[in-house]
Symmetry: none
Subunit: 197 residues, 4 copies
DNA sequence: CATGAATGAGGCTTCATTCAT
DNA sequence: GATGAATGAAGCCTCATTCAT
């Protein structure tokens, strides 16, 4: 009983939806406030009633999408018991989400890196939550002996996230289809078993 | 015998140098032609004598830097005999180059991904040459038995490049220092030996 | 018998108070209806229930403050008998009021002059009442022989008001402190006795 | 022979002229960059090639006009020998200039006071030069015994400038004609001889 | 080989104001 | 008596780009 949280005004919703739609097609810089407004069937001015900035709009939308993403990841992870199992699941789920939720992945893979500001924004926090989750699992794996003791957890995380993101790049940029299951399994195999015969 | 290659006119050189300098500090979108010109001690108009447009300037500069980069990589690779040894060297050399040549890495990691146009540009060719080099080595490794036969070469390449790029991200964006040798060795270890104990 | 004057509704009062407060800090143009409303803990819409527009709000507030101002001046003037005594008092009282009532002086010295509209507004009437009071006293002084017969009353008024206002400018704009008594006495001395030895 | 100072580009000149013209009719805030450009038969963008800001444009124009003003004042002052004679001339010349050069007086009397920024701008320097000139003459007058020893020079300056400015206000705002010679003489008489009979 | 004056399109943002509830 | 969602007009400014000289 948190009390009735008054729903967002229609204008706000329409603006966020419009922006989400546009982000699917173009990059942030190429989207103009005029387009956002027109697409939302709203006046440009209204954007600034609900968002400080065009950038603020990006962050808010990103936030909403990421929230969902992280929620799903967490739920799935309960299905695994071993640490490596969990990481497997994260790799799979991340790939799935990245590809399913093109908007999110575009923002994460392409836009966001450009702007110092982003990393100082609250939006970046979310990303780190995701990253911390991975780190935690790695440490558990090391503690439990599943992962070799001498492994640098930060570096392993870098390899995992790097592999995931790079694997999606082609899809995101060129729309090349990707066999998610196979890719996830392949990444896991390489990272956990190594490529030596 | 290409004949005497007439040297670039001073204006052209100054413009490229100026742009390179600016790219070290800011992102492409934030650099204005006015700044480029001022920084080069040249008039804005001159830029358009030598470059079709601002993007063309980016590609040309990128090209110049990448050429160097790839040259170095190739030279180093001669120092290794085994395929895995070569990949080790590539990982190390790439990290080194990325971090040493901030301009190049910034373009590669941040700018370039944003622009569809880039991938259709000649500039992207260069990147693929690098990627193909890696792929070739992987295939040699599989053929020679150094790398497990069931390995998907494309995926392995993705993991390698993903790991390298992600490892550099923090440095590039935040300026966090990175122990190159240790990082390179760690990545190699994870990918080639796996993280299982 | 104007009957019971129904008290102003709370919203109206809050809005005027809010606007007064804001005028203390910023100039009219820099104050937005949004700020006024927020500061008054009221919605923007309500402003337009009680005031025709933003300018109307200014005039109404100015009016209220000026009324007070003029009231005080009139009361004080009863304490003097000679015309020059009265003018002395006006100079002193005006300085006092200007400095005490920063809002009023800011409006009078800075805002109001900018707007043709103001001078066509009812608000300007008030100012002229003040000016007429001064003129009347000057004429009385000339009639009674206290002031040299050849003095142009309009011009003398200009000198008096000009001196007062300019003397306050520094304080109003920069917040430079001002010794009121000394300043008033000095102005009186200069104007009434001249500066020749 | 300071060398040929290259003349201002036509665009710059047209913009300043256009702005000067517009300032004659409206106040700063009501003048839009669009109007300035149209009136100058130039594109809006060009304004920002030559001026940092709309405000910068104001200052530059003010500067040009004030320079002239001060030049004239200085020349005239050489015609008087006594300090009071010089002040007489300043009063007369200032009135003349204010009324002749409506643009300057408008800026000085109306616009400029509104903006804190102005007083921190280089433009304000000029005004203080004028003010300092007056102060210097007053002090000379006191030293030479022309002006009563007990006179506060700052205050006297305030009275003089205040009288001049206030005397012009009506003309500037309403276009009421003003007999300059008579007004100047009247002000001088009041201030130097006092109004007592 | 290079200049420098000028353009034009459009971007983001602000704000007073209205109106249904 | 008051709210709050929404408007629309316009403002300032930026920038890549062109072209005559």
């Amino acid at each position: 009983m948190t009390g009735k949280e008054k729903p967002d005004p229609p204008g706000r919703i329409k603006i966020m939806a419009s922006f989400s739609r546009l982000m699917q097609e173009k990059d942030f810089h190429s989207i103009t406030t005029a387009q956002i407004a027109k697409n939302a069937d709203v006046t440009e001015g209204l954007i600034y009633k609900y968002f400080k900035d065009k950038k603020d709009l990006l962050y808010q939308v990103l936030n909403a999408h990421f929230q969902e993403f992280h929620e799903k990841i967490k739920i799935r992870m309960t299905q695994a018991t071993s640490s490596i199992g969990k990481l497997d699941l994260i790799i799979l789920a991340s790939l799935e989400e990245y590809l399913e939720n093109r908007l999110l992945s575009k923002i994460l893979l392409l836009e966001v890196r450009n702007s110092q500001a982003f990393f100082n924004s609250g939006a970046y926090e979310m990303v780190t939550v995701y990253a911390r989750t991975i780190l935690k699992i790695i440490r558990e794996g090391i503690a439990s002996g599943e992962i070799a003791a001498h492994t640098d957890p930060y570096l392993l995380r870098k390899v995992i996230i790097g592999a995931i993101e790079h694997a999606c790049l082609g899809e995101v940029i060129f729309g090349k289809p990707l066999d998610i299951k196979k890719t996830a399994a392949g990444i896991s195999d390489i990272i956990f078993n190594g490529v030596k015969p």
